[in-house]
Symmetry: C2
Subunit: 184 residues, 2 copies
């Protein structure tokens, strides 16, 4: 039999609660009790839908990582500016998800370790994407140089994003744009 509407809504409430807790307090704050309290659900319901707490966290983290992707279809036509804009827009439009994205990569817990590997894999794909765009813009660039330059730019963007996660009064878009200007 198909799933009931009420169950689907419960699942959505749990996901939303998990995202909020992760964004606001990181892994530390994201206990089962906190998730259930915020989602107005008892632990039995949680485990009726998810196999483990880690499951719910991974779902949220995966969503946040996918949300940063400017070109999920791999058209391969995006410019460096497009990619940088997408990165900046993500922090502007989805600050909660963006915080999860940063925190997930940083946390030391075992669920987040999975998230960490995921982050690294995603990072490497993104470096390739940036490098490709850089080569398209400047055909005299060697693949090696493009790779290094892409690591530089993404490193700077990640560092500034991390700075923002630490202190949200930091003007991330402004600094990110300046970094992109210098590293291209």
């Amino acid at each position: 039999m198909a799933r009931y509407q009420v169950g689907i809504q419960t699942e959505a409430r749990i996901i939303e609660a998990t995202r909020g807790l992760l964004a606001e307090g990181g892994m530390e704050a994201t206990t089962l009790k906190a998730i259930c309290d915020r989602a107005q659900v008892r632990s039995g319901s949680f485990y009726n839908i998810f196999d483990s707490k880690e499951d719910a966290i991974i779902r949220v983290v995966r969503e946040s990582i996918e949300a940063v992707d400017p070109d999920p279809d791999r058209a391969g036509t995006d410019t460096v500016d497009d990619l940088v804009d997408a990165y900046i827009r993500f922090f502007d439009e989805e600050p909660k998800m963006a915080r999860v994205y940063v925190i997930a990569a940083l946390a030391g817990d075992s669920p987040a370790n999975g998230a960490r590997r995921r982050f690294l894999r995603h990072h490497k794909r993104r470096v390739e994407r940036f490098a490709d765009a850089m080569q398209r813009a400047d055909t005299s660039l060697t693949p090696e140089d493009a790779g290094v330059q892409a690591e530089l730019l993404l490193g700077a963007l990640d560092g500034l994003a991390f700075r923002w996660a630490l202190d949200q009064s930091f003007d991330f878009p402004k600094h990110a744009l300046l970094a992109a200007e210098r590293i291209t």
Copy 2:
């Protein structure tokens, strides 16, 4: 009465065990049991010396943050190159401490939250230091521009350091030097 030698040695063993665990496995791996096992000490001895686990962690983190400082005496004569070199050298010479430095800033646990505030405070001081050095090198630079530029460079360095903490095969010194070349 003064402290006994044996007590001082025990304290040193505990600190060293804590640093190793933090560097290798982050907050997650740094349990009281793990610390005591590695330091060959029973929990009673631990609490004879430290008021709490957090105390020991804070000590280690503080040390690691101070270790990155190129000019503890605030002579104010260091160049941007000096500051960048000190940052890079720290990762080269004290990778274990460097990992603690990065992890401490990132972890979400409550002891590390203290470490996080500490990291941010330290970061702001360092931005000022970089900005001063930049103005000394280029007197036409306005204080605002120097501040922004310092945030850019430190953001890039932190981002690349974070990248290294995630994957230690990453060539941090090379990328850090390139970032410093472009952002000055």
